[in-house]
């Protein structure tokens, strides 16, 4: 009987599924497993897909996976669901379409809940990518709902970031301005058969022409139109993704991205440990007591934070 790490490295899907569950539940043995997997990683191309809710990301990912399968890739998909337990069901429903792919032994799909602390999600996404990479998936797609700061954090794990927008949503281009533009490598205008698609493309092109001067890079962000209904544009999109990967490797940018990603991962791990330590050392009764001291103005939140830092051993900060 091999252990889970050996089975995962041999491509056993059940071992991979189990590892992802261990990562999500923050099982104590998981860091040891991940450390063993670490030396077997670094081979996958990691693609991020983001955009506003309703932009058609899940459908796009499904069709992109089909196109990449035609090109003989072995593909892992991490679909990150929003925090709300209430909405969970509905949005998971949108992903049922993706399940069509689940019969293919070269496709591994996993949903992850985004509940939990800020930063916690980015940390577990890193870990799941690491597990899939070690299991031999050469292309890993991370799909997030929304374009908030947590999603941008998650996207930093990716090497190639696709930002998807659908025409006719009113303010799709304004929404893109707010934060996500800096990390975009490829724009996708989904639903190209809807009215307004060409206008959205024109607005994006204008936005990019303003931005291109600021970025001092060689990569020109392409704008790809796709239609899920007619299954059009997916070959162009897959080409653009491969061109971006070639650009990253040839320019040496892939090393820079890896460095940025490793740094953010280490910082996230440190903060996550502190959060865990705080949880372990301060009981609910003590929290109630501390909070009363603040709300009755006996102590300030700054005093309490300082006292907790001292208790954790951080005397010199």
């Amino acid at each position: 009987m091999q252990n889970i790490v050996e089975r995962l490295l041999n491509g056993d899907r059940r071992a991979l599924a189990r590892m992802v569950t261990l990562i999500e539940s923050e099982a104590p043995q998981v860091q040891r497993h991940l450390a063993e997997l670490h030396q077997h990683t670094g081979n996958a191309h990691i693609i991020g897909v983001t955009g506003s809710p309703g932009a058609g990301k899940s459908t796009l990912v499904t069709q992109l996976v089909r196109e990449l399968r035609r090109r003989e890739h072995k593909i892992g998909v991490i679909a990150i669901d929003p925090t709300s337990p209430f909405s969970g069901g509905a949005i998971l429903g949108d992903r049922i379409r993706m399940m069509e792919l689940a019969g293919d032994p070269n496709v591994f799909i996993r949903s992850m809940a985004s509940r939990g602390s800020l930063g916690g999600l980015a940390a577990s996404t890193h870990d799941v990518v690491r597990a899939m990479d070690a299991a031999g998936y050469d292309t890993i797609i991370i799909e997030t709902v929304g374009t908030g700061q947590a999603e941008v954090e998650v996207m930093r794990t990716a090497q190639t970031v696709l930002v998807v927008c659908a025409p006719g949503m009113g303010d799709e281009v304004q929404a893109i301005k707010a934060g996500i533009l800096e990390i975009a490598d490829i724009f996708v205008v989904s639903k190209m058969d809807k009215p307004g698609a060409d206008q959205t493309v024109a607005e994006l092109a204008m936005l990019l022409s303003l931005d291109q001067n600021r970025r001092q890079v060689q990569w020109r962000i392409p704008i790809i139109k796709t239609s899920a209904f007619k299954a059009q544009g997916l070959d162009l999109l897959a080409d653009a993704i491969q061109q971006h990967y070639a650009y990253l490797t040839e320019s040496g940018m892939i090393g820079q991205r890896a460095q940025r990603q490793v740094r953010s991962e280490i910082q996230t791990l440190v903060l996550h440990s502190v959060t865990r330590a705080l949880k372990a050392q301060v009981s609910e009764e003590e929290w109630s007591q501390l909070i009363v001291e603040v709300t009755t103005r006996q102590h300030t939140p700054y005093d309490i934070a300082q006292a907790l830092l001292t208790r954790l051993g951080l005397q010199n900060i």
Copy 2:
């Protein structure tokens, strides 16, 4: 010559403006000032306004401030701009309208950039609210762009959360499902004169009827239609805000919210100190070295994170 804290407590606007700048720049003396201000706080009603980009939040806030001024409130506004340095200008432009209010001595408006670390924004927002509260502003409005996780964190500072959506944006209700519903106290359908407004109201009502069973609270979330163009609905909105505040105080819920807010503030302060300590103790050269050790697979990110924790003094976590 009085010090900045005394002048702020006497209602000096320039002292307040200076304090906000100190908070934003994380000046070393600011925590001492804030600790002095702490005992003078707890009097303001804190209102959060959130919703997708383009929903008309800035216009709504401007008109809401006018309505609350008619009711003799003294109002502070914190407008949080998105991270991107590129988009900053454009979105600040939308806020020029708000500047009409700036001549009123009983209105204090301040924009804050949302750049910086996760959690950092929530911490500085807490601090700015504290400064405005101590300076005698009885109503403080926090406006955020977007509905991501960072914005939800910021909204936890508020006692009454308004979620704004405009009809005709395609997926406004779906966007609301994803995370923000749990923290909403009042829904606002802006642009009530646009086609589709009644349908948006109906969809929100349906969403709430599903959600109401899950929430075991007495407050029924109202849906208020407003028109910035015709300046309609603002009186109803101001009434709903005051009713919600009365509900919070009479039911004792206001204490529960304060507790939740204090706990999240203390945790944020602890993590923020750790981030600062990491920055101070690890030089750029050392980061480069550590990152190379990870990318060449000599060490895992877990090893490095553990070593850094040990260096910060956190041996037992």
